[in-house]
């Protein structure tokens, strides 16, 4: 055999071996509520608390757990909101998922379940179990896939428009009740020499959060949920284009326009904290970062309201964008009972109260884990709003498949930059969705 023929034959054999291999199909792993916990060994934990302000929380919880169980070592891998996305996938690809890892709900969490990477926790966190009774049932249910529970919700999250009361007073405006009033408020703020809304969209998802809320207002919920399913998605409801047109109006009248694509989310947050901008669309878990003792905007000067719905909206005007966020246990973990025990400790009422209070301000999903007396009053009020919402609209970038999410993200940057229209954005999303359906 000639050398070149040998190389081709070897390569072909390798490809065939790959294509015919059974893959790494795993069996579903179900947590046993009666399993005895072995308090020995190392437990790796991947968190989304990599930010300076949040990172001490898990560090302190880990130390407290290690003090209770001297045979256990907690190995923390702390990432930020952005970096955890790439990190998690790298860990998955290299079969190195930590024992406990962060997960969003929706399509993001579904990936771990589909790949049998997450432990079925139904028997330990279900509504009738001792642990399940201590956590908000709706939050636990957000991690339900195929009728089984896979996640441990840590905190509740939702999106609100934070604002500076002094800058609103200076411009002589009140909290807007409708979307149209919000646009008029922006005009008044601009006249007073203030940037109305700080928006940093370098990462592309911050603008998508506006779209998510506006889509929930403009598209009937049943249609939305159908479109989250790649096999059924059509994205042809006219509410999508309406939502995008509304967002474009908001971007043109309230923000720095195309410049927002070159500004980071963190810079925009700082702009509100520094008193340079009047509004900033943020998650409730960021309230304590927006206004604190060391920021120019003080806590009593901080206000918030839900993004007001536009007139004639065809969707659910009581919907709010947000979802609980939490953790999963790796199906490959060598000590699943210990991982569960650690997460029971993390979600205990005592630790939950610490998590909910400043400086962390992450409203715990644990029942009784949020003590209003210790919390930022704005966070307490925000939680009431979340409780009153009809529907929790998931983040579009984690609810949709990666390809559809990527289409949303890049197209909205183009919409902001003026190089795409709302119709073109939806055409791009539909094209990505169709490509996904073909792949499935």
């Amino acid at each position: 055999m000639k050398r070149s023929s040998l190389v081709v034959a070897l390569a072909t054999a390798s490809v065939l071996a790959l294509s015919t291999a059974p893959g790494l199909a795993r069996d579903a792993v179900v947590a046993d509520p009666d399993a005895k916990v072995d308090y020995n060994g190392t437990l790796s934990v991947l968190t989304k608390f990599g930010l300076q302000q949040l990172s001490p929380y898990f560090v302190n919880v880990a130390k407290a757990y290690e003090a209770l169980h001297p045979g256990v070592k907690i190995e923390l891998i702390q990432e930020s909101d952005d970096s955890i996305k790439g990190k998690t996938k790298t860990l998955v690809a290299s079969n190195s998922l930590p024992d406990v890892y962060f997960s969003w709900t929706g399509s993001w969490g579904e990936n771990f379940v589909r790949g049998h990477r997450a432990v079925d926790l139904s028997k330990v966190i279900g509504p009738d179990t001792p642990w399940g009774k201590t956590i908000s049932p709706a939050a636990v249910k957000a991690f339900e896939y195929n009728g089984k529970l896979y996640g441990i919700p840590l905190y509740l999250d939702a999106k609100f428009m934070g604002y500076s009361k002094p800058l609103f007073d200076k411009a002589g405006i009140a909290v807007p009740k409708t979307f149209e009033e919000l646009l008029a408020s922006c005009d008044a703020l601009k006249k007073s020499g203030t940037t109305a809304i700080a928006l940093g969209n370098k990462e592309a998802w911050p603008a998508l959060h506006y779209i998510g809320q506006l889509v929930a207002y403009n598209v009937p919920t049943a249609t939305l949920e159908r479109d989250f399913d790649p096999a059924k998605a059509t994205f042809d409801d006219p509410g999508y284009v309406a939502a995008l047109d509304q967002f474009k109006q908001l971007a043109d009248r309230c923000t720095d326009g195309a410049a927002v694509n070159g500004t980071s989310y963190a810079s925009a947050l700082q702009s509100l904290s520094n008193g340079d901008s009047a509004m900033y669309y943020q998650e409730i878990i960021e309230f304590d970062q927006s206004a604190a003792a060391d920021t120019k905007l003080k806590r009593d000067e901080f206000g918030f309201f839900r993004l007001p719905p536009p007139a004639g909206a065809k969707g659910d005007v009581k919907a709010i964008e947000g979802a609980p966020e939490g953790y999963m246990i790796s199906a490959a973990s060598r000590n699943i009972p210990l991982a569960i025990d650690f997460m029971k400790f993390v979600t205990s009422p005592a630790n939950a109260k610490v998590l909910s209070a400043p400086p962390y301000g992450q409203p715990s999903a644990t029942i009784g884990g949020a003590s209003p007396s210790d919390m930022n009053p704005a966070v307490v009020e925000g939680l009431k709003d979340i409780a009153e919402a009809d529907y929790l609209m998931p983040w579009l970038d984690t609810a949709n498949t990666p390809r559809v999410a990527a289409a949303w993200l890049s197209s909205i940057q183009a919409l902001l930059g003026g190089t795409m229209t709302a119709d073109q954005v939806m055409a791009s999303v539909k094209k990505a969705s169709a490509a996904d359906a073909k792949r499935k």
Binding site: L24, K89, A258, A259
Partner: protein, 317 residues
């Protein structure tokens, strides 16, 4: 004899045979060959196997979550041709290469020639340090630094434009599809220019002084000396710098990720960042590997072409 005995250790096929001179040479060769073999295996395993593996992965669709892999033949390569972002990314890489050659090869060469032509040794050292300092900073740090330089309104660039009465030229440098890639490339040139100039400086220092003295005696001016002596005598360095610059332009990643993440609307995407986003954001490793294969082929071709050119035009003293 002692040497032969030492060499006929465990594993030698010659152990126990009668020692002769020819025998000793054969043993020595066998002993050396074993180490060469180990080196070959290591290089093949760690350098060439991943390349072959990448080509194999590029013919598959892999679901990283389930670990299931499907052989899709050349589908990923066909998809490359239809992907408009790939063409944007490829165009940006080419733009990166062209601008980098202009600045990091030709402009750096001229700067080095000027600095090395200075009479004062102290001045030469001073200017070498001045232009080399940016190269000592990590590209990620520089990316972050320039991210703030380009900030709309508050950034150093817009503040400067306003200060000199050119505020109307302010642009969302990193936020506009038209300017984002140029803003990133400009930062890269600022960072890499000094390193190239330093290497050219070293090449110029190796040119015998007598050549310049003779040229001066013949009445050659500075420009004539630059093109008749300095340029031909540094041809190998120029060739090397062109290779390094082109391959570097096709491997660019960090600065894009830090400054624009490929946005807005993929306008500043390069093949490296698109590869990353396909593999690690969109979970499509097969397609990512196909993009990697394109990068490999382009950089290999550039390298081979430049090596051929510099060998053909080598100047011997």
């Amino acid at each position: 004899m002692a040497r032969t005995e030492n060499l006929t250790g465990i594993g030698s096929p010659f152990a126990g045979s009668r020692p002769t001179k020819a025998h000793a040479v054969a043993v020595h060769r066998w002993f050396s060959a074993r180490w060469v073999l180990i080196a070959v295996v290591l290089v093949a395993w760690f350098v060439y196997c991943p390349i072959v593996d990448n080509f194999i992965v590029s013919t598959t669709y892999e679901d990283i979550y389930s670990g299931e892999t499907e052989f899709v033949g050349l589908d990923n390569y066909a998809r490359l041709l239809d992907d408009p972002v790939v063409w944007t990314a490829l165009g940006n890489n080419v733009l990166y290469a062209v601008i980098s050659i202009l600045f990091q090869v030709f402009a750096a060469f001229v700067l080095a020639a000027i600095v090395e032509g200075l009479e004062s040794d102290r001045l030469r050292r001073f200017w070498r340090a001045v232009y080399f300092i940016p190269s000592a900073i990590s590209i990620t740090v520089t990316g972050l630094l320039f991210y703030f330089v380009y900030q709309p309104r508050t950034g150093l660039l817009d503040a400067f434009l306003s200060a000199v009465g050119l505020g109307n030229l302010s642009l969302p440098w990193l936020g506009s599809e038209q300017t984002a890639i140029y803003a990133v490339i400009a930062m890269s040139q600022w960072q890499g220019f000094g390193y190239s100039a330093l290497l050219f400086g070293l090449a110029i220092q190796k040119i015998p002084r007598e050549l310049y003295d003779a040229a001066i005696m013949d009445g050659a001016g500075p420009l004539r000396r630059l093109f008749a002596i300095t340029f031909p005598m540094t041809r190998e360095m120029t060739g090397l710098m062109v290779i390094v610059t082109i391959t570097g332009a096709f491997q660019v990643f960090n600065e894009i990720m830090v400054m624009t993440a490929g946005g807005p609307n993929n306008a500043s995407q390069v093949l490296g960042t698109w590869l990353y986003q396909q593999g690690f954001i969109q979970n499509d490793f097969g397609y990512g590997a196909a993009i990697a294969a394109v990068i490999f082929v382009v950089t290999l071709a550039a390298g081979l072409a430049q090596l051929w050119y510099t060998r053909r035009r080598r100047v011997e003293l």
